[in-house]
């Protein structure tokens, strides 16, 4: 349980940043604007089973979980490494690399789940839509785990903010638009559908929209879980090979 002090420290710092409006908005503004703009602007004029606003709200939840679990984790770790020197404190602490990676990832999961819940509340408040189901909650947490563990690994791997921009531009932004957050994946050409079907955000969207368990949900859960484990293994490897000479 050595990861708990890492988690508590990250959470304590997160709470302080949350008091900062800039932080709150940067993580939630984008999905919130899309939810309100498309929700009010297009409303149910877009033909999607179950209604477009409900569809969009779940998509925005998935996006906000991804952004907050992944991007905020990468930013937090890379800033601690490059600008504030605070990562040294963690690396030198007698907590072991696995516990350190797990504590940082769990803080990312908390960030992501919190952001997802805020979007769910906004959907309920503005459009009177209940977005969270049991499979949805499981999907939300697994998605956060998947993106947070990769967030730790990427935060440990990048050598500067430029590399982070490349990852955002080439991986996160395409996932945002092609993984079924704004429209069903089935609207895409077959080739593109095949390419994006098993990406974490597509799986997150599919789980968030489930009302009951089926075979595809189990596959989605398994893939998200395996991806989270792969991200965690990468994080531990990076921590074991940590170098301030890079």
């Amino acid at each position: 349980m050595k990861w708990i002090p890492v988690y508590k420290r990250e959470l304590r710092m997160l709470m302080r940043r949350m008091g900062n409006l800039g932080y709150l908005f940067s993580g939630l503004l984008f999905p919130m604007i899309y939810l309100l703009a498309f929700g009010w602007g297009l409303g149910d004029s877009v033909n999607v089973a179950g209604g477009y606003i409900g569809f969009l709200a779940k998509g925005m939840m998935a996006i906000s979980v991804m952004m907050n679990s992944f991007q905020q984790t990468v930013i937090s770790i890379s800033a601690a490494r490059f600008y504030y020197g605070t990562f040294q404190t963690l690396k030198l602490s007698p907590i072991g690399e696995k516990s350190l990676a797990f504590g940082l990832a769990m803080a990312g999961v908390t960030r992501g789940v919190f952001a997802g819940v805020i979007i769910a509340l906004a959907a309920w408040l503005f459009f009177d839509i209940a977005t969270l189901t049991i499979p949805g909650i499981i999907g939300l947490v697994l998605t956060a785990m998947c993106f947070a563990s990769f967030g730790v690994a990427v935060g440990m791997s990048i050598k500067g903010q430029e590399q982070f921009s490349i990852i955002v531009n080439f991986f996160i932004t395409p996932m945002t638009f092609f993984c079924g957050s704004f429209f069903p994946i089935t609207n895409l050409p077959d080739m593109v559908q095949m390419a994006v079907k098993y990406l974490p955000l597509s799986l997150a969207n599919s789980l968030l929209r489930l009302t009951s368990w089926d075979g595809s949900a189990v596959i989605s859960v398994a893939i998200l879980l395996l991806t989270a484990i792969a991200g965690f293994a990468w994080s531990v490897w990076r921590l074991n090979n940590y170098s301030e000479f890079e």
């Binding site: 508590k8 504030y84 020197g85 963690l90 030198l92 602490s93 007698p94 907590i95 301030e244 000479f245």
Partner: protein, 252 residues
Amino acid sequence: MENQTMPLAIEVKDLYCSAKGKKILQGVSLQVKQGEILGLLGPNGAGKTSLIRLICGLGPWQQGEIYLMGEKAERTRTDAQKAMLGLVPQENNLEKELTIYESIYCYGELYGLKDIKDQTEALIQKFHMEEWREKKPRQLSGGMQRRATIARASLPDPKILILDEPTVGLDPAMRQEVWQQVQMLKEAGTTILLTTHYMEEAELLCDRISFLKEGRVLLTDTAAGIKHRVMQDKGTLEDAYLSLVTGEGRQK
């Protein structure tokens, strides 16, 4: 006799380190005895901070060995080896979101201390930080931040404390305060390795001094020993440093 059986606090044997095609350390050997203060002096780029990083396990080396309290240290450290060491880096690295109290408290949690509240309170008193315990780093001067950083590093009572240029950029009064803190930690039995550019500081604080140049240790001795060996007792430590390290000694 007791000293002969006690393991060295730090032993570095023939350490080589290169990074990005640059030779950083070229066969550094160094011994720090338990309870002593060893000063590392050398020009910028001599390899002082790099050596510290390697001793702390913050990077890889290509050849050589590092021992901490007699135990071989690999690149990835065991928790017990990590607990032996405390590091105060050149730049104050207190968490900007946390108050001084919280920063110290969280550090205690990371080190798995018991009675952290009591220990944090005691440390704040010991280092006279009561008045600004609830302040964040940005609300404090560089000297105050330095004091808090040193205090925090000493919380888990590490056997070895490494201070990288602890007084750089501080005014004379603050510098004296830091010196007092270092003395206090030595009296408590902590082994200290410190780097500095100030000869006065090295002479005042250090039991022995190592001169480092271009990734090599040139000489290790007491300040008096260095003056004797390099200047034949006819110059200051600074003269000896200039003569040995820069080759521009003011020979008297």
